[in-house]
Symmetry: D2
Subunit: 267 residues, 4 copies
């Protein structure tokens, strides 16, 4: 902390926010996020990188600098459910999400009109029986150079390890259960069958193992014996929208660090 | 509904509360809980039962009448953790729980002083290596005639199917996770390892299958990367106390119906 | 209860849901909501009313029958903020709200495009300096015969007692605070100044007294010293959408009874 | 930040936790809490103070150093309600509260046995008609040298500005409502009359103006038309215990900074 803040101070940066976390006071892994105003610095971006490399080397840091004005590009993958997509597009239009939404891809064409209402190109990439590899190739072609972040807004197909490997910790999925409970298919039906009194939604980074990636955010809502599967789906929809939107926002603001399949969220 | 409320009306009962639930509007299973003041009735308790049997037979009802003044007897099983026990005893002392706490059994002697502070007999029934059957026999002897409800207030041993069979839907356990996530041992350690953002506690009826009985109540609390296992345990403790106390209260007030391993809670 | 359920039973109705509430077990006010399938009844709608009048007279009931297939008409009043309007229109489009949205009125023209995207006519009724009476007259003309419910979706003008009197318990407002805290203008600024740790939103029926009508629903979200007024506004927006949508849904499903400036919500 | 962390680094301290907050990125008030292990420092406590004074002077800091091993002394004031007192004593006994509870003072004698069960001296300081000044004098005498923190655990008398002045930002009160709603007497009755759907509890520092001091923590629970005043009181009790315990814990760990009648809580 002293080395980094001292470095920034000496070069004229104004620290706006600092958050840190240590897994263990003695000898644990140390995480830090600094937000600073570089306007008054005596170093240009590349000079900053070069100079900081020296500091980082001394402490063996993994580090990254992100410039707020270089907005990330977001692609959204969907199937038929509209709620998660609309929530993201609406927040984006209001200016709540610091991103450029570059395209929407659907394995069904249903949501094309909604994407277009917001001025976002929509691509229909259907998945034929046994044709996931082909569909993924087509999607990779579309995403190339257009996506720093891929959001699965209730995209109902399972992506291959190969596809996922193109976007390490850069694909966010919303799973409609309180993971690790009810991983896999039809979580609301599972929740109903088990008779839980609370249901949840989970936003996580996608890894090759299904529904097992680092959890970014979760939220829950109370249900009762009065709620049938349809009610769970309806209540869950509101959760999914909120949870996904928060996770995407934090990612876009570089607030999430991943370590050992867990996240440190400096929200 | 018409038959039951009409019957009560004709016999001079004053209905205080009625709650009902149907699993399906057409042909589903129908549940109803009626609370009524029998003071003005033209039937004594046994006459009421006999007369109602006629009504119930016509509709093929499963039914039960409980008299509020016949207070249920509660036995509490504990190990070393004091929080769940003390929460129950406090609430009981201030009149929140309509019961008589008849005894506390511990497989360790540690909590004896606390039980005695509240005037409740404490029995130490240790479990020797391989001696669970023996311990259960001793507990059954102690519980005989003294327990309409058995509460596992962080009792850390697994009870046999045989023991459980003596108290069908009358043993309440508090599990320190949001079931079905993290069933089994050391749920807070499991939760920490998985990196969840919310932890929970679950009160459920005990069935022979571990942590799989009908869920009565659940609650959750938000955690973050800052919380280590110790913090999860501390935060979880507060949840466990609240969740267990609610479940016990509802059971004592005959608000819980069990059907197909799920509960209908008329709270 | 016996009289009503017996009446319905005799005439062939199938009771789907019954909820009741008594302000006091002895001599209190009694409330009941019955949902029943009239398909098998031996009475047509008018005959049902006539026959039930007899039952109701005997017990001095205030009563009302609503037919689910006669969908209520909803008008929405807005100013410039889009979130509450869009939330309602989305939910309506996906079938969550049992209503016909007949028109949107704005004192500013900004939201006209959004109403039209959903196929709803938009009327711009500006309010000139001192011209509220005139604007209200114009709105009453537009609403005439087109509104069983008026929703103030962040409409930022205060309606007169006269206007309100045209729609008793049929105007729902969303107030952006946890009432009765922070009634009146700029509640988020008030909340920030007071340093509360939780903010809320309140949906209520509009009465002549500002922000003092019967509360239908409230919800809250945690905030901290890190949240400035802008953050409160952003967090609050999500609350407002959820709380207003729930209140409108319950109203449309005839789940709300008003008594002594309070609501009984049979949700 | 650079100056402080650099200073600590140079003198061999190991920073365990750092949290900071700025009311405004440019020219706002800056708050920071640093937790560090002084074991390896090259300065004794007094030397540390002297050396740091130099750093602090340069930046015009208000600052304070607290040593974790110098445990704060806590006095608890009560009336008749036992729940808040018992919660604190129980957590203290478990080691959750880093303090020494030196005494309990009651204006009624009712809770004396509970204090004694935990080995804490109890003093009965009754308040005669018009005798608050006298009672306060007696309490000040008892508290002298024995209280770094005074907790009002449902103490039902209003303390004078003079008494409060002896413990600036060192008296914590638990108010049984979601302030600023329902300040003053009988908040649950007020909440019931207003028909709110959520009730709350608020822990705050006591200032001369009633229920208007800096808010430390709040929490809420959902209620409905089914809940009478008695139910609100019972549900509220659980809130009060949790909220007060959190506020006291944070105070004892020096996590709360007060500024302009608001708190910054580095929890």
């Amino acid at each position: 902390m002293a080395a980094v803040t001292g470095f920034l101070y000496r070069h004229g940066a104004n620290i706006i926010d600092l958050q840190q976390h240590s897994t263990d006071p003695e000898g644990g892994r140390f995480f830090m996020r600094l937000e600073f105003d570089a306007a008054g610095m005596d170093l240009p971006p590349e000079g900053l990188r070069a100079a900081f490399t020296e500091v980082a080397r001394r402490f063996g840091m993994d580090w990254r600098i992100a410039y707020a004005e270089r907005v990330k590009r977001t692609a959204i993958l969907v199937s038929k459910a509209d709620h998660a997509l609309l929530e993201l597009l609406w927040r984006w239009r209001r200016g709540e999400l610091a991103t450029e939404v570059t395209l929407v891809i659907g394995n069904h064409p249903d949501l094309a009109p909604y994407a277009r209402e917001f001025g976002v190109p929509f691509f229909h990439v259907p998945v034929a029986e046994g044709g996931m590899a082909e569909a993924e190739a087509e999607m990779l072609r579309l995403l190339k150079g257009r996506a720093d972040l891929v959001v699965l807004a209730r995209y109902m197909r399972i992506l291959s390890a190969d596809f996922v490997g193109h976007f390490p910790n850069r694909i966010i999925n919303i799973h409609h259960s309180f993971l690790p409970a009810f991983a896999g298919a039809r979580p609301y039906h599972q929740a109903y069958a088990r008779g839980v009194k609370i249901i949840g939604a989970t936003a996580h980074y996608v890894t090759p193992e299904l529904d097992a990636g680092p959890i970014i955010e979760q939220d829950v809502v109370r249900v009762s014996h009065r709620d049938g599967v349809r009610d769970l789906i309806e209540k869950g929809r509101d959760l999914e929208r909120q949870v996904l939107a928060r996770a995407v926002k934090w990612h876009l603001e570089d607030r999430i660090l991943v370590y050992q399949n867990k996240t440190v969220v400096f929200a």
